[in-house]
């Protein structure tokens, strides 16, 4: 639709959410891949498992996202070989930021949310912009439905201000099942009003026991 011959990006739509708890982390994304007014597939995962306690959800241009996930997975494997252990979530967070900023002048069109457990076993969520600016938060969303979902999470998971002293814990006091229930409800609501979000919801829960995956149906229209 644009007349420029040099526009190389396209937005494949979709929404990602992550919520950090005291000893768990929930990362969720819808599975719809679209371009313009068309659906390319109803069954495409936006979630990538980078390490045993670290999961990345990305929305935006799937071409760049596939390349980014491949890049990070390869770097994690190298780390494993060199350090004889898997990468921790905060370490991966820094790596992702550096990888994104490396392409500061031809960015990855990827809006990322990284979730997992930190070295103490507490839930952590990192949120990014397209060029690598990142912050550790208690919860975040990115993607086409993010402006519909963020205010609800702000209301239900109210995080204390990071400027307060002494530093207060950003993770939510909700239980794992309550957080998953909130994620399902919030996605069902976003699906009602965002045309690019829908089809199926993939939910990954990371806790001390490992990683669990769950799917629920969303509206397909």
């Amino acid at each position: 639709m644009s007349r420029r011959g040099d526009w190389v990006y396209e937005n494949n739509g979709g929404t990602c959410v992550a919520i950090a708890g005291a000893d768990y982390c929930v990362v969720a994304a819808d599975t719809r891949l679209s371009v313009g007014y068309n659906i390319l597939t109803r069954d495409h995962s936006k979630i990538c498992e980078l390490a045993d306690k670290c999961v990345l959800a990305s929305s935006g241009f799937q071409g760049d996202i596939k390349a980014l996930h491949k890049n990070l997975a390869a770097r994690e494997l190298l780390y494993q070989h060199q350090h004889n252990k898997r990468m921790s979530c905060p370490a991966m967070a820094q790596l992702l930021s550096n990888t994104l900023y490396y392409k500061r002048f031809f960015p990855y069109y990827a809006f990322n949310v990284l979730g997992g457990l930190d070295s103490e076993g507490k839930g952590c969520v990192f949120t990014y912009d397209a060029v690598g600016s990142y912050e550790r938060t208690g919860y975040s969303t990115q993607g086409t439905g993010s402006s519909l979902i963020m205010p609800v999470l702000d209301n239900q998971l109210k995080s204390p201000s990071p400027l307060l002293l002494p530093a207060k814990d950003a993770v939510t006091p909700l239980s794992e099942s309550e957080a998953v229930d909130l994620v399902k409800d919030v996605f069902a609501s976003a699906t009602e009003r965002d045309i690019y979000t829908g089809d199926k919801l993939e939910i990954v829960v990371i806790n001390k026991a490992g990683m669990k995956r769950e799917y629920i149906d969303l509206r397909k229209d």
Partner: protein, 272 residues
Amino acid sequence: MTGAMDLPPKGGFSYDYCRRNAMLADKGLKMPGFLKTGTTIVGLVFQDGVVLGADTRATEGPIVADKNCEKIHFMAPNIYCCGAGTAADTEAVTDMVSSQLQLHRYATGRESRVVTALTLLKSHLFSYQGHVSAALVLGGVDVTGPHLHTVYPHGSTDTLPFATMGSGSLAAMSVFESQYKEGLTREEGIKLVADAIRAGIFNDLGSGSNVDVCVITKGKTEYLRNHQLPNPRTYASSKGYSFTKGQTEVLYTKITQLKPKVEVTEGDAMEE
């Protein structure tokens, strides 16, 4: 009231704000967008008359503004019109022609004909050179028989046995092209229309929610609003939400007593 207010407005477009709007646009103000209906609308001719169908989603860019709007508009008791394009335009143009048809019925003493509605619509749209963004599927049954037409924003029309319009028209047309035949029964016609609309609902992101159908035959019209509801909400939290006092932080409270600032006196009632 002063003398300057006595004259009734002359009618027609008022240019008073044009200069101000141009100045604001230069300064960077974004003009409000139009509500488009995205849309899948269809019509077909069957044995005894015509069947019209439409989805019910209205979009503002990527956001659904109305999950259950009505896109099948009344023109006359025996003529209905589905509209795609800018919602305000389809609404305004169908209302206007519907009123004109009613006046015409009073003047002639006869039932309205589909070609009359067609001519009124096409001449209006042509005179606005495509700026009235209304793409319509017009169908009805009159003394000359069943008729189905499509009307484009620039004013051209087609007369067809089956038709689709809107962003979902390709999805719907693929269903019609594979399954339409002449002499369909009422049940077959309704089923085919519903199938075509559902193809638009599920495969086009600009269309969604429910299926509306309208069946017009000689002497009888049935408007089946929400004939199918194939998209219920998939999940609702059983916990519910409570918004207690204190959940939203109150940073600052200031109470201004109005009583000491306002004088209450006895007086006469205001004149008209």
